[in-house]
Amino acid sequence: MTVTIYSLAAIALFVLGLYGLWWQPHLLRKLVSLNIASAGAFLLMVALAYRGGDPDPVPHALVLTGIVISVSATAFAVVLAARRYRETGSVELDEPEARS
């Protein structure tokens, strides 16, 4: 039961994050959305690691790797967005393909 609640919450977070990534025009909002989606994916991994008895350590190890990648990718994306803002004065990708 607990696993189901966590899994459903995780999937809801993931979908919400992807929705925001697609529809939010502001780059920082896109990044926050991306992190919400990652949180969903990681939460699902933690939830599925519990199958009664001791939790499975493998998904936990994977989540740690995933968090490291996610943190570095976010930092990198923020730097790129900041540099782009300095070059163009724009905080949106404003390309029709990116949002339609």
Binding site: F14, L21, A37, A73, L80, E87, E97
Partner: protein
């Protein structure tokens, strides 16, 4: 197992990574030496790996003795060695080209500081990807290569490059998450991440289908298959030319490689025939749509980038031949054709982008009309482009002819007309967009060069152009390499190869 047993393939990942670290901390003075040593060591590691596969067949290697589920397990077979060979050869030539490309003005020198570590890390990550046989290690190598690729695109710091790299980054991260979610679903259903173990424990059903859809969607974005191709042209065209070459020739092949591995190793167990069929249709659409857009572009590198969208489509035309009920002959022909196409496109496209870099350097701009009359001044580069063009158009003896021929005969065996029509139309359209370049290049206009490009750059492009013809002439060694450890059911055609 001996805990420290390291095979020669370890060097394919290790040497570029060591080179990257050294170049990240060392000053620019010893750069030529370090790059030269890294390239030579990586080439040697590849030759030893190739020799080992040829003598003992496909083999497995657990890094440091730690295998699945927590360690890194590699499996080296013919397909892996072929892709590694493509990466090593293109990477070596691009490295030599880049020594000349970066190193002119002070801005370039600053960019070179970042280019070398990033490019060598990318090279290392790609080799890790081709060696892995584990769903989570693929996630890690996809992220490593993706992040390095994004940074390389942004290298020029121009607004268009920053936009292209940001859009690529956001899409690539979203795609990785979809892939990761699919992997998690598979793990919770099977309790393992190793490709072969997952396949043996998977049962068809809604869970398997959900995992297939998530993983496929993620990888399709990475492989820039139509309609998820829209990030590719702006990213590949705005990058520095050696980076464009690596992105189009190697990085997008990573997504295709994992898809081909999972489709032949895993999905038969999930019986996801519908997914294979959809991939085939999307591949066909990519060939036509990418070629048509390539014909409409006004900038040289955009023509070449849209040509990548089209040429990647051929890879996916092979996928429907792996459905249930397709004859083993046709399935294995399509498999060999797709692998061959990955190599032939990689060589030809890298040659085209490197040659484009020479031409843009010579004129300082990259609209098509700037090319008029350049052929007379730069015959070596024009020859490189012509050789690569022969391969892309699918004219023998270019390497692009054989894969299309194999796909066509597979379609004939199964009595499928539409793939044949798409393959023929694709070749014709390729003539259309490539001759827009050649016509201007060979025009009799009398123009003066703005800058004389370094000789090294011209020769590097020519080497890849010549290789894309040699790869077409040496089909027997390539096909017999592919047959080593080929996936189940993919060997019927290759067994006929002496």
């Amino acid at each position: 197992m001996n805990g420290w047993a390291l095979g020669p393939e370890t060097g394919l990942v290790g040497f570029p990574a060591v080179g990257a670290v050294v170049l990240a901390i060392a000053a620019a003075r010893g750069r030529r030496l370090v790059v030269g040593l890294t390239v030579a060591a990586t080439l040697a590691a590849f030759v030893l790996t190739l020799a080992r596969v040829l003598s003992i067949g496909a083999y497995e290697q657990d890094i440091g003795g730690w295998g699945a589920p927590l360690g890194i397990g590699w499996r080296i077979d013919g397909f892996a060695v072929l892709m590694l060979g493509l990466s090593v050869v293109v990477g070596a030539v691009v490295s030599i080209y880049s020594l000349a490309y970066f190193g002119e003005d002070p801005g370039d020198r600053r960019r070179a500081l970042f280019f070398w570590p990033l490019w060598l890390f990318l090279w290392s990550a790609l080799h890790g990807l081709f060696l892995s046989r584990d769903l989570f290690n693929w996630y890690v190598t996809l992220e490593l290569s993706g992040l390095a690729a994004v940074a390389l695109i942004a290298l020029s710091g121009r607004a268009d490059a920053l936009t292209g790299s940001l859009r690529y980054l956001l899409l690539a991260l979203a795609a990785s998450l979809l892939y990761l979610l699919g992997v998690v679903v598979l793990y919770s259903a099977t309790g393992t991440l190793d490709l072969a173990q997952v396949a043996s424990r998977m049962t068809p059903g809604p869970v398997a289908l959900a995992a297939v859809l998530l993983i496929t969607t993620g990888l399709v974005v990475k492989a820039a298959l139509f309609p998820a191709h829209f990030w590719l042209p702006s990213a590949h065209a705005s990058a520095p030319s050696p980076v464009s070459a690596v992105l189009s020739a190697l990085v997008v092949k990573g997504g295709f490689y994992i898809l081909a591995r999972t489709m032949t190793g895993l999905w038969p167990a999930a019986s996801a025939d519908g997914v294979l069929l959809v991939l085939g249709w999307l591949g066909g659409a990519a060939v036509l749509w990418g070629s048509l857009l390539a014909i409409r572009q006004q900038r040289l590198k955009l023509v070449i980038a849209y040509s990548t969208v089209a040429q990647l489509g051929y890879l996916f035309i092979a996928f429907p031949f792996w459905m249930d009920g397709v004859g083993e002959q046709a399935a294995s022909r399509a498999w060999a054709g797709a692998a061959y196409q990955a190599v032939s496109h990689g060589l030809a496209k890298a040659a085209l982008f490197l040659a484009a870099g020479v031409l843009i350097h010579a004129r300082g701009r990259d609209d098509l009309d700037a090319l008029r009359g350049l052929g007379a001044h730069l015959p070596v580069t024009a020859t490189a482009m012509a050789l690569a063009g022969i391969s892309l158009m699918g004219i023998p003896p270019g390497a692009g002819f054989l894969p299309k021929w194999m796909l066509m005969t597979a379609a004939l065996q199964e009595g499928r007309i539409i793939p044949i029509m798409v393959l023929m139309a694709g070749g014709l359209l390729a003539v259309g967009y490539l001759f827009r370049i050649f016509r201007r290049l060979l025009a009799a206009d009398d123009v003066a060069l703005d800058h004389a490009p370094p000789r090294t750059m011209e020769i590097a492009a020519l080497v890849l152009g010549i290789l894309s013809v040699i790869a077409g002439l040496s089909s027997l060694p390539i096909l017999s390499l592919l047959s080593i450890g080929a996936p189940e059911g993919m060997n019927a055609y290759l067994e006929g190869v002496p």
